[in-house]
């Protein structure tokens, strides 16, 4: 593609003021999946309400199924996808919990379903607001997991997700994580691609070996037991290894079309950084603001944001953290009883053989939608400075903004 062609596409993009939920619905309209099966749950509702309008208005050819639960939503997607159709759903927190059994069936059957996960805390006590308890709970389910930080990224990733999932080297379901309320309900500028450009990027999908269709003979999800289950799980490991390469290629391809640069790990002010703050999701903005404050005070701190949570981009992270003396890892969920919370366990494992290795400090923030402001992240940065200076690596996390 020439520079002129690229500029034309970027110029033809439509800028609209919409929230993250509507942005995902817009991408789903352009994808036009054969089946969408979903059960409404806050804060995912914007997606399926808007998408239902597209269905009612005849703007998509999708068969929209109002199911009785999230377990049924994913089950319907599994059936549709096994029959060779593109299938998508969306959910949040407790809905994901009810869907948990079928998450594993979708990945185990190697079906390229797309799930838009609007992150939400788990009850009890009752809470409908954002944290990453649900995100962390699906990390082992053999799904590719992309996490954005604003409505634009929610839109972009919603278009990219099916192209990763359906790649014959991957054939794994893919989730597009957008933070509940902070992304789903926040109205921001979203630049959407022209329909024909989006459709061309997504392309057509033909299942490579299977489809439940008249005239074909096949068994799906047969008893594996101790005969071949182990081998099938090993295949999924390989698929996730391949997925990292495919994600990078697709992000790069999409960046060319959209003019928006995307990487598996996003960084800010890392060029001359001595310490870093590592984050997942929409708190990126507040962390950037805290870094700007710290930079004014002469602290050489940068930000690392994980976009690709699964497969975890180990080598990219190690390259980014080379020469960094200490990292403050920001976790928006508690891994109860674990030796560390979700992200710090990942980062600790990924960096363990680096020499020298960055010291890690862990901060829990924003549980159940608790707002964490830039001053609190700024204080955490001062704490990371101390860790770097003293060489004392804390074994327990700090809790930002805990009353």
């Amino acid at each position: 593609m020439t520079t002129v062609e690229k500029k034309n596409i970027v110029a033809k993009s439509t800028a609209s003021a919409i929230n993250g939920g509507e942005a995902v619905a817009l991408a789903m309209r352009q994808t036009d999946p054969e089946v969408v099966a979903a059960y409404p749950i806050t804060p995912q509702t914007f997606i399926i309400e808007k998408f239902s309008e597209y269905v009612s208005d005849g703007e998509v050819n999708t068969e929209y199924i109002n199911v009785e639960s999230e377990h049924a939503a994913m089950s319907a997607c599994i059936g549709a996808c096994a029959a060779g159709g593109r299938a998508q759903t969306a959910t949040s927190g407790p809905g994901l919990a009810l869907m948990y059994e079928t998450l594993w069936i979708a990945s185990g059957m190697r079906l390229p379903i797309v799930l838009h996960l609007c992150s939400r805390s788990f009850s009890a006590p009752i809470n409908i607001l954002c944290d990453h308890s649900d995100v962390m709970a699906m990390r082992e389910a053999s799904w590719v997991m992309l996490a954005g930080s604003n409505p634009q990224e929610a839109y972009d990733q919603a278009l990219i997700a099916p192209t990763i999932a359906e790649n014959p080297r991957v054939k794994l379901p893919t989730t597009n994580v957008l933070d509940g309320f902070t992304v789903t309900h926040s109205v921001e500028r979203v630049d959407s691609l022209p329909d024909e450009v989006a459709k061309e990027f997504i392309g057509e999908w033909e299942p490579d070996q299977w489809a439940l269709e008249p005239g074909s003979q096949a068994t799906f999800g047969a008893l594996d037991a101790n005969d071949y289950y182990f081998e099938h799980k090993r295949q999924q490991v390989e698929a996730l290894d391949q997925a990292e390469l495919v994600v990078k290629a697709q992000l790069s391809k999409f960046s060319e079309i959209s003019g928006r640069k995307m990487s598996v790990i996003e960084t800010y002010q890392m060029d001359d950084a001595e310490i870093a703050m590592l984050v997942l999701g929409s708190s990126e903005g507040m962390v950037r603001a805290a870094i700007d404050l710290a930079r004014k005070d002469g602290i050489k701190v940068g930000m690392v944001r994980i976009r690709l949570l699964r497969p975890f981009p180990v080598h990219d992270l190690r390259a980014i953290l080379a020469g960094i003396s200490a990292v403050g890892v920001l976790d928006r969920a508690i891994a109860f009883g674990a030796p560390g919370n979700g992200l710090v366990l990942d980062v600790s494992t990924a960096t363990r053989t680096m020499n020298p290795r960055p010291l890690l400090a862990n901060y829990v923030y924003g549980l159940g939608g608790r707002a964490t402001v830039k001053q609190q992240f700024r204080e955490a940065i001062s704490d990371v400075v101390k860790v770097a200076e003293t060489g004392q690596e804390p074994m327990k996390p700090e809790y930002l903004g805990l009353k």
């Binding site: 054939k171 070996q209 068994t219």
Partner: protein
């Protein structure tokens, strides 16, 4: 480390292009009881044939002729549905079960 690396060769996702292959595998070996059908009292109503979840009742020329003990799981549904009570469950010992 396995030299053949079978995991690289088998179809992904437990997909099989040979449906119905269970008939070639003996799956009835986990039962503890096995049905015995007394053929003289049988009216060949075929209710057991309809209700058997494993299609283990063998029929020839509209008559019940045998029980496929390679696939019967010993569930006992046939005993419950038989209107003439001509089927009973007995301990699964060698030679037990089938049409007598």
């Amino acid at each position: 480390m396995g030299k053949r690396e079978l995991w690289k060769q088998i179809p992904t996702g437990g997909y099989s292009e040979q449906p119905g292959s269970t008939s070639s595998v003996r799956t009835g070996d986990w039962r503890s009881e096995v049905p015995v059908l007394e053929i003289e009292r049988c009216t060949h109503c075929m209710i057991c044939w309809i209700d058997c979840p494993d299609a283990s009742f063998q029929v020839a020329e509209s008559k019940l002729v045998g029980i496929d003990l390679d696939h019967c799981k010993g569930c006992g549904i046939c005993v419950e549905v038989c209107p003439t009570k001509c089927i009973e469950m007995v301990p699964d010992t060698p030679g037990a079960g089938g049409v007598k």
